[in-house]
């Protein structure tokens, strides 16, 4: 079933590519149908998850001479992201309903398949392959359908990500090499490599391997000081591209840090927790201040992502159950809420033909539906209790407070939290409030359908954490139990 989620999108993309037609009438309906069915399958897997550890494993030989196999499985950490990937594909297709190019929809499906592969892969080389494949469709989505500086933004995204991922490749190969002494064979299987964690920890090169992984994931997250690709990519990407970037691409970073950095190098994680924590706090505070200064609405949201993902990093750096729990919760919440924000900004700027904050006023008065949803998303973004964003941020901070290393950082992080509240409320005031200046058509049914699942999730995950918490526990607890034996 997991393989279905990975390869059906690839096949569907191929079908679209081979289907000759002038407009994308078929392509978008086909993409919607495929991603809709896959979302249902993903939800099915989600709700049938046995509750702990890895489930739905599939293992086939791939490159036996290298010790790499096609090994996929899902646990409670990966499952929410697989569902999110599938759901955001539906949202992105709906958000791009006016696009005339079938290639666009084919690329969205390619992204879906590759991203699902990233979250499902339990073989490090397989993970790397999907991690890299993601770049190519994303590059073209930004470079072809983006805004004015799209080419520069796309190339920056590509090269930035590549530097990180090639270093990760070196680290993957290094891990396999150093683990082979203990395991007696060259293997890239995550579960096999975990058996070599104690011996890896005793190596002097462990720090190098740790940072080889960490740099790739910090770039993806993104964390200060390697976040500078994000504002460009986000601002220039088309709406669907931004939704994918914020919704799932960034999550590869947090997911990778938990799965690989924490799962394979727990001692190094402990050793460098303070460094990661400091980076997290800088991201939180600095991201919030930069958000405050933005004039471009899309750039504003992009920079608020730096702040939001800072909590994820802080939660991970705490290495406590609550902090890690909060990190995953925050990632899911951020995917939903920021995805919604980008969707609304995209629909808004389609109408106003500008993203300048100064050029917009009274949006709520002229478009109650769009304005209302955008309002909700901005409140979610500032972490209002009752919406999804609150729980993640709160747990990350709480977890960080519980850990010795990161306790003092929490106080600093609060400065960023407050600043972002200000930035978001000020945006509400400037863009949504005020007299109606001009009449715009409000959301049409398709646009509403795109927003609906995200609105529902933003509220539901804020009020009913039981929809997500047991799953995260099912992934985090075995990992922590494994780590506790080593530290």
């Amino acid at each position: 079933m997991v393989s279905l989620l990975i390869f059906v999108p690839f096949l569907a993309a191929l079908v679209i590519a081979l289907f000759e037609e002038e407009d994308a009438a078929f392509a978008k309906r086909f993409a919607l149908g495929v991603s809709g069915v896959l979302t249902l399958i993903a939800l099915g897997l989600y709700f049938r998850y046995p509750g702990e550890g890895f489930a739905y494993a599939e293992k086939l030989p791939w490159m036996p001479f290298l010790g790499a196999s096609y090994h996929v499985a899902l646990d409670g950490i990966a499952l929410p992201f697989v569902v999110l990937t599938a759901l955001l594909t539906v949202v992105s297709v709906l958000a791009s309903w006016r696009k005339k190019d079938r290639a666009f929809f084919a690329l969205l499906l390619l992204l879906e398949g590759a991203l699902t592969g990233v979250f499902a892969a339990l073989d490090l080389l397989l993970f790397f392959v999907f991690f890299e494949i993601v770049l190519v469709p994303m590059y073209f989505v930004i470079a072809v359908w983006g805004y004015e500086e799209r080419r520069y933004a796309a190339m920056k995204f590509l090269l930035y990500s590549l530097v990180g991922s090639v270093l990760m490749l070196a680290a993957i190969l290094g891990t396999a090499y150093y683990a082979s002494a203990e395991l007696g064979k060259f293997t890239f299987d995550y579960l096999e490599l975990q058996k070599a964690v104690p011996s890896l920890a005793s190596l002097p090169v462990a720090a190098w391997l740790f940072w080889g992984f960490a740099i790739a994931f910090l770039i993806k997250l993104p964390s200060f000081p390697v976040h500078t690709w994000l504002p460009h990519a986000h601002t220039q990407a088309p709406t669907a591209g931004s939704i994918f970037l914020a919704g799932v691409l960034l999550k590869m970073g947090g997911y990778g840090l938990i799965r690989f950095n924490l799962g394979l190098f727990p001692t190094e994680m402990k050793r460098f927790a303070a460094v990661l924590g400091v980076l997290a706090v800088i991201s939180i505070v600095y991201g919030a201040y930069v958000t405050l200064a933005q004039r471009d609405l899309k750039r504003l949201i992009a920079n608020s992502s730096v702040n939001h993902m800072g909590y994820v990093l802080l939660g991970i750096a705490s290495m406590t159950a609550i902090g890690l729990h909060g990190a995953v919760y925050q990632m899911v919440a951020h995917g939903v809420i920021t995805g919604l924000m980008f969707l609304m900004v995209g629909l808004l700027s389609e109408r106003t033909h500008t993203r300048e904050i100064g050029a917009m006023r009274g949006i709520y008065a002229s478009m109650p539906l769009l304005g209302g949803i955008f309002w909700l998303a901005l409140l979610g973004g500032l972490g209002l209790p009752g919406l999804a964003g609150f729980l993640g941020e709160f747990q990350s901070l709480w977890g960080a407070y519980l850990a010795e290393t990161t306790r003092w950082m929490v106080w600093l992080a609060l400065i960023g939290l407050l600043t972002l509240v200000g930035a978001m409320l000020w945006t509400v005031q400037r863009v949504l409030l005020g007299e109606k200046e001009k009449d715009y058509p409000d959301l049409d049914p398709i646009e509403l359908a795109a927003a609906a699942p995200l609105v529902v999730l933003a509220v539901l995950l804020g009020l009913v954490p039981a929809l997500l918490t047991p799953w995260i526990d099912g992934g985090i607890q075995p990992l922590l139990a494994f780590i506790r034996g080593l530290l």
Binding site: P61, W62, M63, P64, F65, L66, L125, F128, V129, F130, E132, I133, V136, Y139, F140, A143, V144, R151, M155, L158, L159, L162, V163, V166, L167, L169, A170, L173, G174, A176, Y177, F186, V205
Partner: protein, 469 residues
């Protein structure tokens, strides 16, 4: 016996093509067809006799490695003959020699890889080099072609002379031309003279492989030659010399650490500087030439590491590069034939004018860049894994970082082709036979990129037998 049949097939086939050419009035298509048939037959025979072991005339060894050389070289020749269908009739002075030298070039490579003594090794190397001299100069009415070919010839002759000098020193130091005797002498502790000879031989082979600092001829030769001929220059001699180097190392030299470490340094220089220089290129042939230097660096890294896995990784690199590098040049040929100059400027907006060609070219460029799912990625991965398996991490980190540069310049070409607006309007009519060839090559890039196990086990088998495990 099968290997002997292949050798005779290539030799006599070349002769037949050369002699038949003057008799045909308009015969490029026929000759290309015959040449392709001979190569196809050679490939079938090589598969059938893959595991044959024999010593032919005391100096040519039939082994899986020799069969591998036949397969790869015949594939290269097959594709080039196919690519030449598009503009064959325009060839100056008749097409006979073109096809004859394709066959003889492959023959030279087979002799080189299968040789068991220095003399046959040198003979094979020269025969394969002569084919490339002729093909590089084939467009002789064009000034650049003549210039590039002349530079290539002079530097090629120089490198052969250095190689020969090295062989002479090896002979002086060990007292034998036979690989087995040389190997025995090297194992006892290489005499200084023989070691110097081995290093000089490495320099000579470095020229042929286009390793930095012996690369200066490459950009001019590639730029001057027609893209079809450049596709040959970039594939066949590299296959012959790459496999030949492995065979020479294992059968004759041992090889001593000084030799492998020198090769490692050449490899490092090649992928660092080749990639850096390629960044600045605006002419696509020069861009591909510099990127070839970089690719040969990764290949040489695999060869320097050696062992079954290192050599097999290098062999897979040759396979992937034969497919994707060849496809890139054939795409240039197709575009040139349709009137598009081989520059980044000229390729702007190509997607709007020739979508099929652009997509197929993109697959080639993506494979060269090393995007997963295509053979070029796995080729790099195997070489990197080989360096990880022997713990060469400093080199590994440099190597992986230089691949980022590769992404930049290959994506610059794609950016021009897919994102820029075309300068002229109107669909281009692309030669269908070249388009078909590109389609096949793109399919092979994907096939080996997704399912490498079959090819890789064949490679491992060939080198396991060579090393004698």
């Amino acid at each position: 016996m099968i290997t002997l049949t292949i050798v005779l097939l290539l030799a006599l086939g070349g002769l037949g093509v050369a002699l038949a050419a003057p008799l045909l009035k308009r015969g490029s298509g026929v000759l290309a067809g015959v040449t392709m048939a001979i190569f196809a037959l050679a490939m079938i025979l090589a598969v059938a006799g893959f595991n044959e072991r024999a010593l032919i005339f005391g100096s040519l060894e039939a082994s899986p490695l020799t069969a591998l050389a036949v397969l790869l070289l015949s594939a290269a020749g097959f594709f080039v003959a196919w690519g030449n269908l598009a503009r064959g009739e325009e060839l100056w002075g008749g097409p006979g020699e073109f096809f004859a030298f394709l066959l003889w070039g492959a023959l030279g490579g087979v002799l080189l890889v299968g040789s068991t003594n220095l003399l046959l090794f040198f003979l094979g190397l020269e025969l394969s080099a002569y084919a490339t001299y002729v093909l590089a100069a084939y467009d002789r009415d064009r000034k650049e072609s003549a210039e590039g070919a002349m530079k290539y010839l002079v530097l090629g002759a120089l490198s052969s002379a250095i190689l020969l000098y090295g062989f002479a020193l090896v002979y002086a130091g060990t007292g034998s031309m036979e690989f087995a005797a040389i190997r025995a002498a090297f194992l006892k502790g290489a005499p200084a003279l023989a070691l110097l000879g081995a290093l000089l031989a490495l320099v000579g082979l470095g020229f042929k492989l286009a390793l930095v600092p012996f690369h200066a001829w490459v950009p001019d030769a590639y730029q001057g030659a027609r893209p079809v001929a450049a596709a040959y220059l970039a594939s066949a001699p590299k296959i012959a010399v790459g496999l030949g180097l492995a065979a020479l190392f294992v059968r004759a030299f041992g090889p001593p650490d000084a030799v492998t470490q020198s090769l490692l340094v050449l490899a490092l220089f090649s992928f660092v500087f080749g990639n850096l220089w390629a960044l600045a290129q605006t002419n696509l042939k020069r861009l591909l030439a510099y990127s070839t230097i970089a690719h040969m660096g990764y290949l040489a890294l695999g060869l320097a590491i050696g062992g079954t896995f290192g050599y097999a990784a290098a062999g897979f690199y040759l396979l992937a590069y034969l497919i994707a590098g060849g496809a890139a040049f054939f795409a240039l040929e197709a575009a040139e034939a349709a009137g598009v100059p081989s520059t980044i400027e000229g390729w702007k907006g190509l997607f709007k004018r020739a979508p099929g060609l652009s997509v197929l070219a993109a697959i080639a460029f993506l494979s060269l860049a090393g995007v997963p799912g295509l053979a070029g990625f796995l080729a790099k991965l195997y070489v990197f894994a080989a360096s990880a398996k022997v713990g060469l991490f400093a080199v590994l980190v440099v190597a992986v970082l230089t691949t980022v540069l590769g992404y930049y310049y290959y994506f610059r070409v794609l950016q021009a082709a897919f994102l820029e607006a075309p300068k002229e309007e109107g669909r281009l009519s692309v030669n269908p036979s070249l388009l078909a060839l590109l389609f096949v090559l793109a399919g092979l890039s994907i096939l080996f990129g997704v399912w490498p196990a079959g090819a890789f086990s064949g490679l491992e088998q060939a080198f396991r037998v060579l090393i004698g495990l």
